[in-house]
Assembly symmetry: C2
Homo-oligomer: 741 residues x 2
Amino acid sequence: MLRGFSAESDRAEHDWETKFRAIPDPANLRQYMQRLSARPHHVGSAYDKDNAEWLLSKFKEFGLDAKIESYDVLFPTPKERVLELVAPSHFTAKLQEPTVPGDPTSSQHDEQLPSYNAYSIDGDVTAPLVYVNYGAPTDYEQLDRLGISVKGAIVIARYGATWRGIKPKVAAEHGAVGCIIYSDPRDDGFYQGSVYPAGPFRPSDGVQRGSVMDMPVYPGDPLTPGIGATKDAKRLKLSEVTTFTKIPTLPISYGDAQPLLAAITGRVAPERWRGALPITYFIGPGPAKVHLKVSFNWDMKTINDVIARIPGSTYPDEWIIRGNHHDAWVNGAEDPISGASALLEEARGLGTLLRQGWKPKRTIIYCLWDGEEEGLLGSTEWAEDHAEELRKKAAVYINSDGNGRGFLGVAGSHTLEKFINSVARDVKDPETNLSVWKRLQLRALADQPESAAGATRESPASDRQELRQRADLRISALGSGSDYTAFLDHLGIASLNLGFGGEDNGGVYHSVYDDFNWYTHFSDTDFSYGRALAETAGLAVLRLADAEILPFDFADFTDTVQRYVDEIQKLAQTQRAEIVERNREIEEGVFAAKDDPQHKTVPPPAEAVPPFLDLAPLQNGLAALQTASARYDKAFEHARESDGSIPARLSLRALNADLIAVERALTLSDGLPGRSWFQNQIYAPGFYTGYGVKTLPGVRESIEQKQWKLAQEQIVRVGGVLENSGERIQSAAAELDRGSQ
Amino acid sequence: MLRGFSAESDRAEHDWETKFRAIPDPANLRQYMQRLSARPHHVGSAYDKDNAEWLLSKFKEFGLDAKIESYDVLFPTPKERVLELVAPSHFTAKLQEPTVPGDPTSSQHDEQLPSYNAYSIDGDVTAPLVYVNYGAPTDYEQLDRLGISVKGAIVIARYGATWRGIKPKVAAEHGAVGCIIYSDPRDDGFYQGSVYPAGPFRPSDGVQRGSVMDMPVYPGDPLTPGIGATKDAKRLKLSEVTTFTKIPTLPISYGDAQPLLAAITGRVAPERWRGALPITYFIGPGPAKVHLKVSFNWDMKTINDVIARIPGSTYPDEWIIRGNHHDAWVNGAEDPISGASALLEEARGLGTLLRQGWKPKRTIIYCLWDGEEEGLLGSTEWAEDHAEELRKKAAVYINSDGNGRGFLGVAGSHTLEKFINSVARDVKDPETNLSVWKRLQLRALADQPESAAGATRESPASDRQELRQRADLRISALGSGSDYTAFLDHLGIASLNLGFGGEDNGGVYHSVYDDFNWYTHFSDTDFSYGRALAETAGLAVLRLADAEILPFDFADFTDTVQRYVDEIQKLAQTQRAEIVERNREIEEGVFAAKDDPQHKTVPPPAEAVPPFLDLAPLQNGLAALQTASARYDKAFEHARESDGSIPARLSLRALNADLIAVERALTLSDGLPGRSWFQNQIYAPGFYTGYGVKTLPGVRESIEQKQWKLAQEQIVRVGGVLENSGERIQSAAAELDRGSQ
């Protein structure tokens, strides 16, 4: 029986699901994509508006109550972009993505947004060039060891490893005056396979656009942090905004990067820093000197979220929200139309069921967001605008973005781990005769290292045993990078992100070549995985909307939090041991002894040995969660009558309110240290990873950043959060017990 | 006190060593190198002969009794070399290393041996091309998984990972009809740093010559396995030789390789296979089709070993042998003249001491070998020719080859581990104020991974503890690749290989650019490390020749054998567990589930589960060794009178004979399975690694090759060898006990 369903509604649900599964049609997905990606449709463009209106008309055509909700946001577009090598020789970067023969939309130059990084500040700098690998904090530690400073320099970093916005942020922290980001062919160009149009990978002149707003501080419209960017919202002055870069930043192709990199000399880059260009990768600084000039039109634009609503028949004030963005950097076939098309086809399916008499118990809201690319604008402003209502009513948010061929990717709230496993078991993989769940499980087995060296946890053997025996496959935690962020991190709404991929590699991300021609040659060419996404997300929405009891589960959640607490403990121990060992090695002269006098290095500085941290508050919080979760499981097992019905005494409204409150209890209104917008205490994008998640972020990042006093405070706060959330679970269990007595 | 010395001779030794240390002079090393590398001096060339005579004259000038010992060997040189791409386009490889401006010897084209692989068979083949990465056995396993066969194809493999001779050998085993070997710029070209003449790395047209004789079967003259290639030796017919390649083989530059590799399509090579050329690395087969034609002059050449002898004053029938080759592929400044020059300077030092009245107790033999490059010809033929006498008299062989800047590299017999540690403690590193021993120890600490992931043994912490607390740094075991092979592996003579390096990277190995200009710009430019090598090897020779008791130690040896036995045990366990797991995964459908239908793979075949092996014979052998070693240590401690003298009752002649016999007891006259020339049962070059060592090779390789019955037999044999060697140690201990009673 489906989790949270009575026997009777379980039977009905199976019927509706069977009807639903038959609806999504790859031919429709293809048509949607062709229409939506026919022209560039970035924020503020005519075709972006046109798409929004077309999407609205489709929702209405499907019989849904839909409208456009608009916000006014700051969106800079390029006025001037100059990048030139001025010494030791001269070269001017072309900063253009040429038309590709046979690709009809790659020639729409008049409508294409030029390649740039949104929310870079204006700037005009000339300085020596330093190659900084991915520009991650560890890369600067390495530069310190090599005695190389970026102070007063322009850095050139390759895309990858960190989210792009981290690169100018960390470069500026180290005193750089400008930042160039390029796509190395090693990461998504010819090193990986044939380049477009012969193959899916990034051609020499392909550029990755993208936002460099400091989203780990807050995403959304820079002028309206924490509130909806409505017409009359109170706005910051430009000078008050904290999420612009501190230095001018520009993305370039590897065609443009090669002459710059080839002109650098000095120290040879460490092996792991080297890309696939046919040059020796040197670090510099100089003798290459570059002139970088960027300026922008700092204009306000209107963004258009397209929102459809199916009112709940029984619990209209419990909301299941489903979203995908519709705006793109250019034509955006893969990102985001592959996902947006699946969402649209789901909506058609739900519309069809409604006409056949289906009545979802909960309210369902389908959202096609605008302005995701620039900084999650559409979803963030909508979530901030409706924050009060959402905090009360939102049960679950399900997101998707790009979609491709391969394996189901699931990440999200672990209270939904068991639920989404059940959905994945019921969807068939288009390429094999397996369920997408089974295929995932078997791949995970295949990907286990043969020997102990690469094992993720205790040993490959125990990892394999878990994969074979645990009821549910583990899902990843969510960092940031798509529209779930405001729901999960700001409001504490249980969220999932879904999408297929892994067999659809390529290198057209955020370039003019992410278009219909590319997608239909190299990704999910027959849209069978688009159909599978519509089926997967649609089934999830149906089940969440139809269940009597919201199918949250706290055993998997608690199991996961246990792992996080273990990681924190190990992190603290390892870090301490490493500092003690390193200090000893400095004293022993290890670094000096290893040094090559012709290539001197700088020993790391001795560091204060960290105090031992008191982890008891975290462990007590975890224990409370474990107790509560065990009680809930027991109560849940007994919450059905012998005929499979749910006892009439049980107040489902009260129970579901408690369940929704569990997730909300994971937030604190004053947020994380230094970034109050991020209120979730279990999940957050890393302050220095950008997209990559940090779990128990307040504690983990304090330890990583060696702020011991802060770490101890955070341990107490987060321990309290776990206890509070345990209390909400206890309350739900009590309601179950009361109802089933 | 120095190990094996009485108090009195210890004092004398210190004086002689002090005198000796003052002698080696970098200016001489520079002059020797300039003279010896002035012209190409490969086997059979005029300058090779000229060098031998000059070296002879130097030995005589130093006052040593020296002569040239000559052998007649088969040495093929190129008659015809053709390599062309014939489809889908046409390209002819130039197979030429051009003159480099500013490098005076790179223009000596008339005397340079063309780039080729010696002991390739003649052949003329045209076939599709397949890229096979390094051409190691595991690469072919990967090809099997990708469903790609090399049957009837010409393979192109990059240099590295395995010894070059393994590449055509394994290719032929898999049905290839030709083999091209090229130097990928990733491994020693621009990917690593600036190329010659701007930097030390391999330029686009640089080629690595080298022998591809099947040396793991037997090295030395192919026509005279096991016997000296004297004028009247009984020789095999060409058709009877088993050590030629089975398919024609040719080495090329990356300049020549790029058009061939760029013409391959098909499956993209796995990430770890990809080099640094600016192309997508595809595997093929084809559509690239190449024509490879090579033919050779199968001529006999005379090789000239230059041998100097200092007769022992007390134990003339106990020999300390020191060698380095003098022949090169072309000018060979680094390989081998950097080492040969150090040896020559040592000889000058010993000659000086002799004139001052020094009388070594043992006979010292200094050897400058010819024909090393082609297959260790000079050393092997000499060792085979003098085998009977060597088996009786040789105590230790000390080898060197190329030398560079950086850290002392030591590998060899673990009975000498303690001894060579004591020498390394007494030599000062030219770049730091540390002993070379201390610098090695501190580097080893620096190179320990921070976290458990990369630990070699139990944990980085326990590795560090050992590095800090164990009296001796561990030395590596010797595989093959230089002139110690016949001494160690064929005759069972305790051997060491010494050389500095690690700060002298480059890419001119076996090319015309390994010359005086390169060496004096990029390697040990002031010859301070050449001087350090002369000091290190010279001190070792002095101590070995002067000690009353040969300074063999069996505690470190036993400790090392213990590790090998542990490794064997773990290997058997791991292999069994992996086969069981893989069979299970095949049954579960793991491989099929992971497969991308657009890039199909072939699941591995199910394999018979290995039987459990009875390792008791090995463990019993080890136990015997441990008992004997402990007894010897105790006896050795008591083998001195209170005044530091050695008891007169003790027969040093008998004791030293026992000590020499320990090493000989590690051999079996019928050798390793399938290769009887290799008699040492502890150390051998791997049958499929070529240079890389396999310890306890009979057992280890049988297990690796899944020959379980053979493995069990080998366990019994090797256990017996350990017991025999334990008996010899017992006998030495008994002699000590008898003498000190």
